[in-house]
């Protein structure tokens, strides 16, 4: 019973305990808020990349692309674990809005919008044709024209709150798109004859993927026209990537392995060397260069907060040292009635445990409340002081992520309790080793 009563007595009666509580709560509060925002940003970024790519890709970084993609698509279409499959052309191009005196270098992506929306989240990124993706490349002002979808940041500006203002209908705007058509060996297909292919497309929609780099540099074109523009329609048809979506019960890693196996079997029948540069990658591997940077920042932040945890350990150590030095008589009495060393140790570790529990509960509750209102706080700060955590005209970030990841919260709370126990360990050990005969002798009383 004393192991229950005494820790609570020390916790609520000794004001110095409040210091340990405050220190733990403060650290937990900061870590919960920062890690929730950071984790939310990373999760959101990964989700958008996943949506942009699909579950798996097969293809090559080479702008030449790879041939026999149609044959391999037939193989994949027979696989029951694949739900969506789309071929894509990727290349660089120069676009010039007609009537404008400027041009801009972009990446073009040739897709079949319906198939691509089945394999990726492309359909969800559209504005005007979200409900009927088959009309994506049919401009509403003249469906007979060849349409194109433009990355939103190439077309519209963000306001201070990160919002775009769309016109009721897409405006008629012709865009000249030029690129180098390449032979299967990578040479210029039209060497000495103008060297570039140019074709006019008409703005039909915008795509808002939420990925700044994609939205500021991608223009989507109809698959066949992009293939022809890039010289990938002859002598054999080529594509850059195949985007694949797996069925709901297929794990991405397992699905990728199955696709890789199918690819190896397919290549064996096509002769060596032809398809060497083609890789089968999961969406994570494909977007690794972009995702890794954010993950590293998260790792560095976590490392910094480990330092914060170390400070908490020291505060708890000092507080416990003080409490134990003041409670030597209690220890003497307890030991004189037969309480063992290990039970004394346990008593103070229980106390540390409760400090950790209450401290982290207060910190987590305060953090949760702060996170619930974080966007309101930011709006208020913006309205009154023009302060935003991130300038939305620069960063493609909407609301500040504020959904607490329970797994992260659990790790933080367990770490806080662990830090308290670690900090209390040495003072508790010293308390347990005290001799009642020395503590309770008359000169010490």
């Amino acid at each position: 019973m004393y192991k229950v009563i005494l820790p609570f007595r020390y916790l609520f009666k000794k004001r110095i305990s409040y210091l340990a509580l405050v220190a733990v709560a403060l650290c937990v509060f900061i870590v919960v808020v920062v890690m929730t925002v950071m984790t939310g940003l990373v999760r959101d970024f990964k989700q958008k990349n996943h949506s942009f790519v699909g579950d798996c890709v097969v293809g090559t970084e080479s702008l030449v692309g790879f041939s026999y993609y149609e044959d391999f698509m037939k193989v994949l279409e027979q696989a029951d674990f694949i739900e969506g499959l789309s071929a894509a052309i990727k290349n660089y191009a120069l676009i010039n809005p007609k009537g404008s005196q400027r041009s801009v270098g972009v990446e073009i992506m040739g897709i079949d919008p319906v198939r691509h929306s089945e394999a990726t989240g492309f359909g969800e990124t559209l504005h005007y044709s979200k409900s009927d993706v088959s009309r994506t490349f049919k401009p509403s002002y003249d469906p007979n024209l060849a349409g194109c979808v433009v990355g939103i940041d190439l077309w519209l500006g963000r306001d201070a709150k990160g919002q775009y203002t769309y016109a009721a209908k897409p405006e008629r705007q012709a865009l000249g798109v030029s690129c180098f058509p390449l032979t299967p060996k990578g040479a210029l297909a039209k060497a000495g004859a103008g060297e570039v292919n140019t074709k006019t497309f008409y703005y039909s929609d915008t795509s808002h993927s939420g990925l700044a780099r994609v939205d500021s540099s991608f223009v989507y074109l109809p698959f066949e026209q992009a293939q022809s523009l890039c010289g990938m329609d002859r002598p054999v048809k080529r594509a850059s990537w195949l985007h694949i979506k797996f069925g709901p019960n297929v794990k991405p890693e397992a699905g990728c392995e199955k696709v890789a196996l199918l690819w190896r079997q397919f290549v064996r029948g096509k002769g060596a060397g032809l398809l060497d540069t083609v890789k089968v990658q999961s969406w994570k591997d494909y977007r690794r260069p972009f995702i890794a940077a954010m993950e590293k920042e998260q790792t560095m932040l976590t490392a910094m907060f480990v330092l914060v945890g170390v400070t908490t350990v020291f505060i708890v150590l000092v507080v416990f040292y003080m409490i134990i030095s003041h409670k030597s008589k209690d220890i003497g009495v307890l030991k004189s009635v037969g309480i063992s060393n290990s039970n004394i140790l346990l008593l103070f570790l229980c106390f540390a445990f409760w400090v950790g529990v209450f401290g982290s509960a207060i910190g987590a509750a305060a953090g949760w409340q702060f996170l619930v209102h974080i966007n309101q706080i930011e709006n208020w700060l913006f309205e009154h002081f023009e302060f935003q955590l991130w300038d939305r005209t620069i960063y493609a970030i909407g609301d500040i992520p504020n959904t607490i990841d329970l797994e992260v919260l659990a790790v933080i709370i367990v770490s806080a309790i662990g830090a308290c126990l670690a900090g209390a360990l040495i003072p508790s050990w010293q308390a347990a080793r005290q001799k009642p005969v020395e503590i309770l002798q008359v000169t010490q009383l």
Partner: protein, 448 residues
């Protein structure tokens, strides 16, 4: 003297004091490292603009002719050391089999540009040459030569983030093909108007630029301004430019110099170009640092947020110092009582502990400053160790713009941090000092 004796004694005897010193040092160094790295990055970011575009940039709303005359007039100003013209256009470059990149083409005057930005030091082949940088090529005399950024012709290694300069050297003298375009006067359906015309131009790579600024290295192709002008605007004469980049003299007052530059521009545009007042007023005269100000402000804000977070965390140092000092006061009651019984006032005793707090703060913050300095200065080596030991490449130029982590210690921030660290230690010692001052010697020293 007594205070000094007691401080030294407590420092030697009370090992726990070392804990408070360590906490102060750790917080202090953390804040110094964060501010130094952020400020170095911001400075490098702003400096990169100066190294790319000079001190001041004059950007008219549209391209203009007769730039040599404008440059001559600008260089006549006492505040202007040198000026150079550029003409730019986006383009695609085909560098070899299957290798196409989207780039920005800059038409430049290499000799003048060297005076404005000192860009020769970035040229891999010509950096040690005694002559002015040139587009001349060894193998293809008479052919158009051009410079390309190192990132245009190669990718940094995935693991080390370093370029293979051996391979890059092999690119020199190779042929590349650019496609670009410009709006030129033309006749469409019997109407005259400006039409965007595409141009394709082959060139030979005369040299490769490695500035260490990823965006510049990855995006830019440089050609002689005269040749680029002929290709983009074949029907126009008289030196066409769309930007003038200016280097000021060392003693020039920037604001005054900018006003003079604007004056020269307005006169030139009105008299030589015949532009109206609206078009003239649309020209921007700004320092290259001002052109980066929105991003620099955003970076400074992020640093502020990070400092606030770490500042709040550093408050725990106050708590730690308080706890340790409280413990010392509790366990040194007899010392205090003896001092007081010798006639020392409560204030003097309090001062002893506040002074001890300041002493802890000073030692901790000095150690923290040394640690912060060492970490900041060696941050690139530390990052390399992390890569070698854990295989984790934390800094990549493609993400963070620069090849190396900018690592100048910012003493303008470090000194206030040191001051606040000392103040935090003093604040932490304040309540224990008051407790010590209120100690009654008679209660402590009585026999029973």
């Amino acid at each position: 003297m007594l205070n000094l004796f007691l401080w030294l004694r407590y420092l030697r005897k009370k090992k726990i004091v070392l804990l408070s010193i360590a906490a102060v040092a750790l917080s202090c160094s953390l804040l110094i490292v964060v501010t130094s790295l952020f400020n170095s990055f911001i400075n490098a970011f702003e400096q990169s603009a100066v190294e790319t575009m000079g001190d001041v940039v004059l950007t008219p709303p549209i391209k203009f002719t007769n730039y040599p005359m404008l440059i001559e007039r600008l260089e006549g100003l006492g505040a202007v050391e040198a000026a150079t013209a550029t003409i730019s256009a986006p383009g695609l470059v085909h560098l070899g089999k299957g290798n196409v990149r989207a780039v920005i083409i800059w038409g430049i005057e290499p000799g003048r540009r060297q005076k404005v930005t000192g860009f020769k030091r970035f040229l891999l082949k010509q950096k040690d040459s005694a002559t002015a940088p040139s587009f001349a090529t060894d193998s293809a005399t008479g052919k158009l030569g051009g410079f390309v950024g190192v990132g245009v012709v190669a990718e940094p290694d995935e693991k080390t983030d370093e370029y293979d300069f051996g391979e890059i050297e092999k690119m020199m003298g190779k042929r590349a093909v650019l496609t670009t375009g410009a709006a030129v006067e033309s006749r469409v359906d019997d109407k005259r108007g400006r039409q965007f015309k595409r141009r394709v131009l082959p060139f030979t790579i005369a040299d490769v630029l490695f500035t260490g600024m990823y965006y510049v290295d990855e995006k830019f192709v440089y050609l002689p301004i005269e040749q680029l002008q002929k290709i983009l605007y074949p029907n126009e004469e008289g030196g066409i430019a769309d930007q003038i980049q200016i280097k000021l003299t060392n003693d020039a007052q920037t604001d005054a110099a900018m006003a003079q530059i604007r004056g020269v521009w307005e006169e030139f545009a009105e008299k030589q170009l015949g532009w109206g007042s609206y078009l003239i007023s649309q020209a921007e005269v700004s320092t290259s640092k001002q052109m980066q100000s929105q991003y620099a402000a955003e970076l400074r804000k992020q640093m502020g947020v990070l400092l606030f977070i770490f500042g709040v965390i550093s408050l725990t140092v106050v708590v730690l110092v308080f706890c340790i000092f409280y413990m010392i006061v509790e366990t040194r009651q007899k010392d205090i009582a003896v001092i007081r019984s010798c006639g020392a006032s409560g204030g003097a005793v309090a001062l002893t502990f506040v002074g001890f707090g300041a002493c802890v703060g000073i030692i901790g913050s000095v150690l923290g400053a040394v640690l912060g300095y060492a970490v900041t200065k060696n941050i690139n080596a530390i990052e390399e160790w992390i890569r070698v030991i854990f295989g984790l490449k934390l800094w990549k130029s493609s993400v963070y713009m620069f090849s190396k982590i900018p690592n100048e210690v910012d003493w303008a921030w470090a000194l206030p941090i040191i001051f606040f660290a000392v103040a935090a230690a003093v604040v932490g010692a304040l309540i224990p000092a008051v407790v010590a001052a209120r100690t009654e010697p008679v209660n402590i020293l009585r026999y029973e």
